[in-house]
Symmetry: C2
Subunit: 123 residues, 2 copies
């Protein structure tokens, strides 16, 4: 447990957002200017392997990271790229029944238009 890892961990835990590696790096560098980009990526992998955080593949651009919690889906706005949590209680159990094998993890991304983008209308 290095200072670097503790810092990265804290940033993710304290953020209400789903941060990209670049955002985490930028924010961490404000407190620890010498921090290397590679160190951020290496620690993110470690933390993901430890189950401390969860990596989210995004439809466009860089991956984002979410503090690990009860598995849940994400709502992605096709208009502005905003990401919100989507509680999905019971989905995992339903999936295991459908799959017929233990489900290690799942990732659900639902595309929609957020209220703001829906107002503007489909461009």
């Amino acid at each position: 447990m290095t200072r670097q890892r503790a810092l990265i961990s804290r940033i993710i835990r304290e953020s209400p957002e789903h941060l990209t590696a670049a955002a985490i790096y930028a924010q961490a560098r404000r407190e620890m200017p010498g921090l290397a980009r590679g160190t951020v990526y290496r620690n993110l992998h470690l933390m993901e392997a430890d189950g401390e955080i969860r990596r989210l593949e995004m439809p466009a651009g860089a991956d984002r990271y979410d503090r690990a919690a009860a598995p849940h889906g994400h709502l992605y706005c096709d208009g502005c790229g905003t990401l919100r949590d989507l509680p999905t209680a019971g989905l995992q159990t339903a999936l295991e029944a459908a799959v017929g094998a233990p489900v290690l993890d799942y990732q659900l991304t639902v595309h929609y238009l957020c209220p703001a983008c829906r107002q503007k209308g489909p461009a």
Copy 2:
């Protein structure tokens, strides 16, 4: 509708697999050696926009492409990276109810171990 696009379209339609752009490129080049990588990517984007195919973000490595069909999830084996289809009838309706807005699309990837990898045991 160019010869190039027709070829790419056919390759995807005829393949039982979920191909990567690189695989599509390699296969297309066997029939049309002058084909450029950029052309493949450009056409894949066009076809995705037209709803002819669907792009699948993968947990590791390059994206894959699926001929468009009824929306369905995918089963990803964490052991060997194999991808299988997972029928998810009714999920979209359930999601719309949960979200309270029209669902444009969704992507569900379920991580598991395929029978072969389960035998070998968790490494």
